[in-house]
Amino acid sequence: MKKLLATLALSLIAVPLTANAAGEQRYNLSMPASTCHHTGAMQPYAATGIGNWTGVPQVVSCPIPTETDATTTLYNTSITTNAGVSVIDCTLRVVQTSLNGQSAWVFWPNATAQNWQSGFGYAAWQNITLPASSATAITCTVPNNQTVWHYNARSNWTQQI
């Protein structure tokens, strides 16, 4: 009986909680800025943030994992910075490269929200349709002597299988 219950429990765990009958999958990702790519010698700060003490402005680029085999919709993508970073300088960039690498489209969808609240900067993009074989990232210019101490990128996207 114990073995049967254990098997049943394992089978319940293996069921993807976010899949529905229509073949859609939803992901809600929250990632620390310390995992982002960056120029110069920026340093991780307070476990999740990343700071710029290099003396010159630097660029941080946070990749958003998406499925490249099919068209994907990013329902909501946002980034949080500290007030010292202008969220106007944060852009969502979508790059679609041709299979032979001879050409590439680069898109910059307009942000739907850019504001500062309680010492935080916040930028958001909604309902962005990504073509197949594309890569997406949020890119921010971080001024000198500014610390991005809490820098998160959230995406909530659905992909038709």
């Binding site: 032979n100 050409s103 590439a104 489209w105 680069v106 898109f107 910059w108």
Partner: protein, 215 residues
Amino acid sequence: MRTFWISVIFLGLGGLSVVAWSRLRGTQPSAVAEFAAPSENEDDLRARLARLEHLAGRSVAAAISQPSNEKPSDKDAVENETHAEPPTVKSIEDQQQEQAERNRKETEFLNENFAKQADDPAWSRGFETTLQDKISKAFPSTNDVQVECRSSLCRVAIHHVEEGGQAAFLRDFPNHVPKIAAMRLNTDGTGQTTVHIVRDGYPPPTFTAESDTSL
């Protein structure tokens, strides 16, 4: 008495086992034969033979170029399926050639879109200057640059002379453009880079199969 009844039960079970085994042995070969060779009666075989003779009397070229007006029967469908060519898998070279052709057509499509556009000098002259400045500052070794803007599209053509100059431009140019909606970078393998830039707030021209008039 007890031993007697136990013996009777065992003998009965043994008899039943022998009967069951013999029945299975007898039916198995026929079951296999049924799966291996579907039953065909004589009429079916005659009809198929007549069809084969009919096909043999026509040349392959005639059969292809002069499609029969007869409605294909289910039997024809089965025969066609049996003799269908296996699906061909495109080689990597073929796929790359197709992609190169598609790139060329999309570039032509964007060039045509650009050529058809009316000029908006209130925006285009200033944006041309901005792009020239950005390129000359970010890529000082690049000296053969042509920039032209219309109402919502700009076209930048650069001939790279310095080795590695093209790769550096393709990698870094998106980081140096002012606020725009989109851009398409294209290389043709001759050291020439063509960039189509879409003005902020305007939709990029969409290249589809319908856009390709040569198809």
